[in-house]
């Protein structure tokens, strides 16, 4: 599903140039659950941004579902993104001004799903995440675990082929964290490809494969049995 080759990304300030990704090559198959690990500053988040088409690489190739997307413009990327990729963040990133229902509905609005269909699909996914009873609450009225469930609901409502999760349990206690990991595993078993950045060896064990990064390069790959 994903094939990146010799991917490069630099960050420049007036004085310094930092290499975030240094000719990185990674391959992810459809239906895989991959964890990316590494110390702070190793390029994990940069990689996730590029994989999520939120940022463009400075060099190399990124083939997504057989299409070279490295040089796509903003509009094309956004289009590809909203139909194929769901995001889950450490800090949940729900819009405070919208209710649970409205937050989950958002991706459907941007993909132009008609209103009646939206209601059906949002209710379906909220039900699945067991937060239907909170549909009219605002994010600040929910616990961290509930918020992350809403965030996952939002990530999957559009039935994306790929979910990118950036330390999804980082702000949760272990019990809520395990719940979230179970949810992700379920999704993966139903066919969704998952790439997760994490610091937690415990979470990483849920994946099929761990890619370890250091200074923008792959240093090791572990296949989980």
């Amino acid at each position: 599903m994903i094939k990146i080759t010799d991917l490069e990304k630099f960050y420049r300030t007036e004085e310094v140039e930092t290499i975030a990704l240094n000719k990185l090559s990674i391959h992810v198959n459809t239906g895989e659950f991959v964890a990316i690990m590494g110390p702070s500053g190793c390029g994990k988040s940069t990689l996730l941004n590029i994989l999520g088409m939120l940022d463009d690489p400075d060099g190399g190739s990124y083939v997504f579902n057989g299409v070279e997307v490295a040089h796509f413009n903003e509009r094309k990327r956004a289009d590809l993104r909203k139909h194929n990729i769901g995001f889950v963040f450490q800090s949940f990133n729900l819009i405070d001004e919208l209710t649970v229902f409205e937050n989950v509905e958002l991706p459907l609005i941007y993909t132009g799903v008609p209103s009646s269909e939206r209601v059906k699909r949002v209710e379906e996914v909220l039900d699945k995440m067991q937060i239907m009873h909170r549909r009219n609450h605002y994010p600040q009225q929910l616990s961290g675990g509930q918020q992350q469930r809403v965030a996952i609901a939002r990530a999957v409502v559009n039935k994306p082929k790929l979910i990118l999760a950036d330390e999804p349990t980082g702000n949760l206690d272990s019990s809520n964290g395990n719940d979230v990991m179970e949810l992700l595993t379920d999704l993966n078993e139903q066919g969704t490809t998952i790439i997760m950045v994490t610091h937690s060896e415990h979470d990483a064990r849920y994946s099929h494969r761990i890619i370890r990064l250091l200074d923008g390069q792959t240093v090791m790959e572990n296949i989980m049995i």
Partner: protein, 818 residues
Amino acid sequence: MIRNYLKTAWRNLWKNKFFSLINILGLSLGMGACLLILQYVNFELSYDQFNKNAPNLYRVVNDRYQNNKLIQHGTITYSAVGKALKTDFPEVADNARILPFGQQVIIYKDKKIPKESAFFTDNSFLSMFSFPVSAGDTKNALMEPNTVVISETTARKIFDVKGNDFNPYIGRLIKVTKDTFYSKITAIIKDVPENSLLKFDMLVSYQTVIRSYGYKQADYDFKDSDFWHYILLKPGTDYNAFNAKLGAFSQRHFQGNKVSGSVEKFYLQPLLKAHLYSDTEYEIGNTGSSNVVWGLLIIALFIIGIAWVNYINLSTARSAERAKEVGIRKVTGATQSQLIRQFLAESFLVNLMALCIGLIMVYMAQGIFNDLVRHQLSIAYLFKRGLGGYVISIGLIVTVLVGIFISGFYPAFVLSAFKPILVLKGKFRSTGKGALLRKILVIGQFAITVILITGSFVVYKQIKYMNQQKLGMNIDQVMVINGPIFVPTDTSFVTRANTFIAELDQIPGLKNAATSFWVPGNEMGRNFDVRSATGDPNTHYTVRFDGISRDYLKTYDMQLLAGRNFVSTDYNPSFDKLHNVILNYNAIKTLGFASPEAAIGRSIFNGGKQWEIVGVVADYHQKSLHYAIEPTILEPVLNIENQISVKITPRNVEQTIAAVKTKYSSFFPGNIFDYHFLDESFNEQYKNDELFGKAFGIFGGFAILIACLGLLGLSLFATLQRTKEIGVRKVLGASIANIVFLLSKDFIKLVIVAILIAVPIAWYVLHKWLQDFAYHINISWWIFGLAGALAVVIALATISFQSIKAAAANPVKSLRSE
């Protein structure tokens, strides 16, 4: 989608109530003020637009030069001009002469209707202008002598009109003032609209003045210069090209240079420009000031601009708070253009709310505003056709849309350009670019503010200067009574006038009384062929003249520089026997006398007659300080219809007036006692200046208030951003004063830059404005100093509202919250 945008927008507004309040309140005030001003601007620009022929209607302006100097720039000219233009030029479709007839009394049976203003005019007037006929002859109403056309309101005053049927009154006979003959009402027209240059209640056929009053010169003559002409050019005529031909026309017809040595220039002024661009003397109509109108329009744009700048500043300053939302929307699939649309929707919502509140403000302030501008205006005036078509109406709509777009677009653009991951990981920092733009905009706002403050000071000072300037005469406590009309005019009037004045003098509380052709503030007559008997016989001068009774100088506290005042023997019912005159100092200088003393006993030629100078008075301002003092001759002429000036003591005013009225009524039975106080009518000349001054002050105040609202928001934001820094500094020992200084200095720097930019602009604009006055103040440097200091104080006060609160807060709280 739109629903989602508006929902988020609304909840965002609600969540940040204080910022929303500042934004919406500022915009509402801005829009309200702007809508009020634009009503007035559009009303002023709508003058005479109701005339279907307006684009092709012109009036004749006559400039007169003598000794290479412009001595008269007026709309009055010779009776022959209109007809001659029509005969000479095929481009002229029609012409109408107007001779103002002043305030007349209409007499119908036992009824007397006072103060109906009237014009003599040609029948063509009715087809050239668009004054709709309610009843009567629509084609030839003013063809015959002794025919009149009256307004509906006048008709209602004369007759007991039922409903709107005016037909029964067509053909009725009335008498006008002292007429011995009857005039027939041939048509009744709708009342003249408020936005008409020409204002009248009654039109009298021009043939009446020629045939019934026997004023032959009124028909076709190049000597008497008391007539106003309106010309209708054929559509498509280039009036500039037409004007170019009028030099030869003047040469062909005018004999004034033979009579008085003056050179005449005629040109046409478009009717549509007459109201706002009249700088002419002997103005027949209701004139405004283009300076005031354009000045106010600029202020209106400034105010709304400042309000929109607030919106931009507050939105971009708060961008960090919105950044997370933007990031989330992006990762869930929003494109930049969708986000821009969202923020535009938000801007639209804010502007729409502001517009609604603004309209409520307009509704509430309309009465006060109407009192200020002295017109009955309403929102409807925003959509009236004006000079240049519907430019203001369309401009208003376009400006609002563009304003909404720009004020929304910039924040939308800034916000939607965030890199989502940075934002979502909390690494967002607002850009230096946005901060620079905010600085520039704040500088712009305060520069405008300083210009407006300076403007208010200068306009106020100039008006105060004009009100306090010594006029060379004292107009306080002078009541002016209209002269009696219904009195037989015979040779006994000198005695009668003197007796009346002498009897008035007996009234306690009355100091002096005098009669004159014109009172201060009126336009005096001019003689164009005045010269000193001993000077060059070929050099003529143009001199103003007035006829005054003996106590005129005393009544007005005028200073005699040399010679004597008039005595009773100077007066005679026969004009030919009059011999002595008093001149003002300016006339003495103009005619070439070395000093006032040297002029006494010397002779001058004035109106073909030789006169002896018996006295010289110090210069005095007959007209407003817009005009320079002119050479003036005071003649010992009494006329029973002269206005009566009565100087009274400030005590028991009511009783004094009552006593004067009794005396007037017993002396002149059947006449209407009508008076006004001179200082009021004199100051009426400054109504445009006063309006300008007040509008400058009031709307300048609005601009300052709105700019301060913005500054308040920005300073609150800056303070919030620096909460932690303030905490750390306080822990390290900073005092409240240190913190306030820290928070204020950046803003004050901007205000100072604004002052530096504003001063030269303000100086230039105000300097130009003052050039409109023959007598004006000088702009002293301290005005700028004061305006600048005021701007700094206002800004400081606004900022300190927040900064003191922040500085006084317990640092532990702010540090713990991190």
